[in-house]
Amino acid sequence: MDSMVRNPDVKQRDAAQAVVVAVSSDAIFTPEVEQVHGATEPLRKGDAFSFMKAIQVVNERLLTLNSDETLLFDVILLSNDSEEKHSRIIASAKHYGLDIGRFCFCNKEDSIESLQSNNVKLFLSTDTNDVCKALQKGVPAALLYHQTDPHHQTEDQLKVVFSGDVIGSSEEMLHGLREQGFTETQLQGFKTAKGSVKEFAILMGEMRRRFGLEGSPLCTGLMTAWSSRDVCASALKTLRGWGLLVDEAFCLAGAPRSPILNLVRPHIICLDGLYHMEGFTAMS
């Protein structure tokens, strides 16, 4: 069971047309080390802060181009916090002027159900495991990229990067994963994840097309971590087929990804289910 609270300070979007994004409250506001009873000051900014600001810029630009635009970001803050923290969360959102349409308070176990029932197009978390779990349950999810230096994260352009190793791999290549010890459940999970990524990619493609090649408040990218150039090319063409023409592409073929990601500075990375292999062995 969840409790949904509408934010009176924010104009409600048409949820059927909008890109509904659920962000965990722990990502928007840094979780406090010690809970102080009766504390009222605003919560500290979390990892998702610059993401929140960036989507605001995208929404504003979309509305400038077309005041009747319905393909906007519609954010739901998802919180598993205790009841006494609820009002503080709502007050903090108001304090920072965050474009959060609704607050969803529920238990951790009910989170996935809440996401599914609210037609969420994307669930965001800083935890790889939570993202992968959601993906495997068919909930589209992406990782909020943890910046080592948050001051360097841009707030005037939203950067969305898609991970392409699975998107670009052929059926045959994915078959080969079986030999590397992945179970059928996991493999089915990758297929489901690919489906979820597709939906979000289509939406991003449509949104990206509202703007020209230069000066866009939305920048999209593709990154392949361990596969060959052909897989990357295949991923580019697949995304193109889904209507998403990415701006940037990085093929790493095993090169260390942290230094490159630290320069790309994405706000979110849409995993295709195979971000870190160790995350999967822990889940089977």
Binding site: S24, D26, A27, D47, S125, T126, D127, T128, N129, D130, L143, L144, Y145, H146, T148, M173, G176, E179, Q180, G212, L213, E214, C219, G221, L222, A225, W226, S227, S228, R229, D230, C232, A233, L236, K237, R240, L245, V246, D247, E248, A249, F250, C251, L252, A253, G254, A255, P256, R257, S258, P259, I260, L261, N262, L263, H276, M277, E278
Partner: protein, 373 residues
């Protein structure tokens, strides 16, 4: 919820090892026997721009005259049309040939050349670039027995932003581009870089069994002496040289590349392949052996560098000599020499470092050299 582990160095390293394991597994599973790219930490990484790898003159014109949207649309329409090879293409092929030899002698080593396509092009242009690489990768001017693939598996397409920041992230040892300003930026970041110039329509017959790299001495390998000549006089220069005969010169920006070549050469020597070593290096300098030759050779020795042939021209033009050598690339800091080399068909690359680039035909210019084609 748990914090993401990306800031924990130990976890990052563990993640990198997982990625590397996945990469090896992926390439091992390919039926094409395509070699996997080397681990960047051990490789000699050469980043090439799309315009230096391929001839994109016609496309460049569309960009200049019709703007970026038309340019990208054009490239997309011609996705499946391979681009013609550019000025750096023969060099890349020669590097692949060296790799084939190294893989044969040291099958488990990652000390190989690694080519990264580093471009500020839009990712949609990438499809045509990859298709073009595939076109040349499937056949080659080299012997079919060598089964040489164009192992360009890594690339960085920044969609309009400067790619210079990424050079370090991709562990680049040498950056080649047609854009003089980007080359200067790279050198200022401490990365060896040079501006490539097309050798025009002159036919050249480059060796397909041996990589030949030629370097100019001043300002390429050695940095402060050129300043002495330009700002003072030749006499001061000679005095300086004799006085400092026993003092090694300061390093120029391309010195590290020569070092890397030497390191790979020694791997062939270790397996008794000195006579058939597929790498040969040349020093081609305007200076004379008598005046500054001693210091040059002593410096090279002190750096542990072996250059195969040192040619002191004592003022004679470099063009005809280079035409004889036919290097896959010739590095020089003065446009005057670059032009002389180009005229006779040599693939030349300008290293804009030190006082040399501010002068052209004796006139102080301050503009970065650029191949505007």
């Amino acid at each position: 919820m748990a914090e993401s582990k990306t800031t924990d160095p130990a976890a990052t390293e563990a993640g990198e090892e997982k990625d590397w394991t996945a990469t090896k597994a992926f390439f091992d599973s390919l039926k094409t026997n395509q070699p996997r790219p080397p681990k960047p930490q051990y490789a000699v990484t050469i980043a090439v721009s799309s315009r230096s790898l391929f001839n994109m003159v016609a496309e460049g014109k569309i960009y200049k005259e019709d703007g970026v949207e038309k340019y990208v649309a054009y490239q997309q329409e011609h996705d499946n049309e391979p681009l013609m090879p550019g000025v750096a293409f023969p060099l890349v092929e020669a590097l692949m040939n060296v790799n084939a030899g190294l893989r044969r002698l040291y099958p488990d080593s990652d000390e190989l050349f690694d080519i990264v396509l580093m471009t500020n092009n839009h990712a949609q242009v990438g499809v045509r670039l990859i298709n073009s690489i595939n076109h040349y990768g499937s056949w080659s001017t080299l012997s079919a027995i060598l089964q040489c693939y164009l192992t360009i598996e890594r690339f960085c397409m920044t969609g309009g932003e400067s790619p210079i920041g990424y050079l370090k992230a991709y562990m680049t040892n040498l950056y080649l581009s047609k854009d003089g300003e980007q080359v200067i930026e790279a050198i200022e970041e401490g990365i060896a870089a040079a501006t490539t110039f097309a050798s025009g329509d002159v036919e050249n017959q480059l060796s397909d069994t041996q990589l030949k790299v030629a370097f100019d001495g001043d300002a390429v390998l050695f940095s402060e002496s050129a300043i002495i000549v330009k700002q003072h006089s030749l006499d001061t220069f000679f005095e300086h040289e004799t006085e400092f005969e026993n003092k090694p010169r300061a390093q120029g920006p391309v010195k590290c590349f020569l070092e890397a070549l030497g390191m790979l050469q020694r791997k062939f020597y270790a397996k008794n392949e000195r006579m058939t070593c597929p790498i040969r290096t040349y020093l081609v300098t305007s200076r004379s052996a008598a005046s500054s030759g001693v210091r040059v050779l002593k410096t090279l020795r002190s750096w542990g560098l072996e250059i195969d042939e040192a040619l002191f021209l004592a003022g004679a033009p470099k063009g005809p000599l280079l035409q004889k050598i036919q290097p896959h690339i010739f590095f020089d800091d003065q446009m005057f020499h670059i032009e002389g080399a180009k005229e006779l068909g040599t693939i030349a690359a300008h290293v804009p470092y030190g006082i040399g680039q501010k002068y052209h035909k004796g006139i102080f210019t301050e503009q970065p050299a650029k191949d505007t084609t």
